[in-house]
């Protein structure tokens, strides 16, 4: 196994091609759940969790159902998106049911965020990119974890800034979502500084 490659995948997903700040995926929770640090952390962990699982499952679905190794048919173009959405939705539901029984504390901590991210575009993005980049199973899982970590990083940074904004003197017209969008733009701008990190 090539650890160097895995490391590059991880760094790339966390910093260079950060899902929120460079790829602009998962903007909805990024603005919606970043008002408080605690809830941002909960959301972040839920996303890491689901992204990792989804990467794993969808890789199997892709390589054994949509484009089986026998090469008899290839449904990637027609069915990939809908099959992945179905898979992710079912997966999240399943995880929720199991968690409620087996780990009620974690279930309570993640709370509403777990079902919320069922339809998060960032999750679907990870799974689609896994296939597009021709990652193998291990690489897919690593990519899933680090994409989630990158998302959590962005979310926590945003939440910290917004908590301080609460007590800052912001002109009334900029209050709330307006200043949040400005902050998001500035953060995204600063993250472009990572783009020279990896020379492909």
């Amino acid at each position: 196994m090539d650890f160097g490659r895995l490391f590059v995948i991880a760094i790339s997903a966390i910093f260079v091609n950060n899902f929120v700040l460079a790829r602009f995926l998962g903007i909805c929770p990024y603005l919606g759940v970043s008002k408080k640090w605690d809830s941002a952390l909960g959301m972040g962990i839920a996303v890491i969790f689901v992204m990792t699982l989804a990467s794993f499952i969808t890789w199997i679905v892709q390589h054994f159902l949509l484009a089986p190794p026998s090469g008899k048919y290839d449904l990637t173009d027609i069915l990939q998106t809908i099959a992945f959405i179905l898979t992710i939705a079912a997966l999240v539901q399943f995880v929720e049911i199991v968690m409620k029984k087996a780990m009620p504390d974690l279930y309570k901590a993640l709370g509403i965020y777990l079902p919320l991210i069922t339809t998060n575009c960032a999750i679907l993005g990870v799974t689609l990119l896994n296939i597009k980049n021709d990652y193998n199973l291990i690489e897919s899982i690593v990519f899933g974890i680090s994409a989630g970590v990158g998302f959590t990083l962005a979310l926590l940074m945003m939440a910290s800034i917004r908590e301080r904004l609460e007590s800052a003197k912001v002109p009334k017209v900029f209050k709330g979502i307006a200043i949040a969008l400005i902050v998001a733009a500035l953060m995204s701008l600063s993250f472009t500084g990572f783009s020279g990190l990896i020379a492909e």
């Binding site: 679905v61 449904l75 069915l79 809908i82 179905l86 079912a90 399943f94 049911i97 029984k101 009334k172």
Partner: protein, 353 residues
Amino acid sequence: MTLILISIVVLVSLGVLFGIALGVANKVFYVKEDPRIAKIEESLPGANCGACGYPGCAAYAEAVIKGEDIDKCTPGGKDAIAALGEVMGKKAGKQKTRKIAYLICQGDRELAPRRSEYTGVKSCAEVKLVGGGDKSCSYGCFGYGDCEDVCPFDAIHIMENGLPEVDEQKCTACGKCIVACPQNVLILQPVDKEVLIRCVNHEPAKDVMKECKVGCISCSMCFRACPIDGAITMEDNLAIMHYEECVDCGICAQVCPKNSITDKRSQERKIPVINEEKCNACTLCYRKCPVDAIIGGKPKEKHVIKEEQCIGCLKCYDVCRFDAIDLVKERPKTIEFYKDKKYNRTDGEHVKK
């Protein structure tokens, strides 16, 4: 063609597979949840206002199951308590009187004019930052409607005179407007509170006179006239009402020279007389009188009102079930009459001051 068939088969099998897996998981990992939680949540208003002290209606519903009191939801009012009581099989304690928000400022645009023209953001909190506001009185209500904006029940509105008006029916005493008001001129008091001091200006009389036509000039007439020991005190150029002592007799409103004190029943205030023929000696009025001005309390002893002690609060009149109390005598209007009659509610003694 075969590609379409394969697609259908693959997707259907995928769906069926997941469906079965979820169905099985639901059975295997089934968690029993108290069905009462859902029932209670249904009967709560769902405004998630937090007046109960919990982060939302769902959290309160769970707390109720665990033994929390069922009368914590103020927006739900009696209906919610009744519904919760039915689910939980218990009754609320003594029903507290419903509270609503009151504005304790009367300085509308005419009585307390603006001293400058403010064209900024229409918000009381913003106005306050600009040199203490655009109103002549820097203590009073600005009337830019921070309370109206924050009210989740559409119960408070800024009227044409520039002051908010509370809708008695809609107000649920959730307390959001009280928090939002930068001037602290909104308070929560029982819906049947009759008398209120409606001024919060601490400035000396000379300044108040200039600023507002209904401002408290700290003449202390109300303080001297008040028949209850400690119900009104003078603090820092302002008469302060102590709500837990006040018995709503309205004498302060009667003597106030600036009309800073309002009395909902000012027209009714009279000294009551008990009609001996109709009186049933039920002791209701005797027990209700806040100043021990009614003789009676023994079986079959008809009640008589001691005129020299009666303050005309009309509590006995409201409570009498036999229509035996007539409001006939005018209540003395001079401060001299009440000056020496202080009643101490803790000792139950009439004290000379």
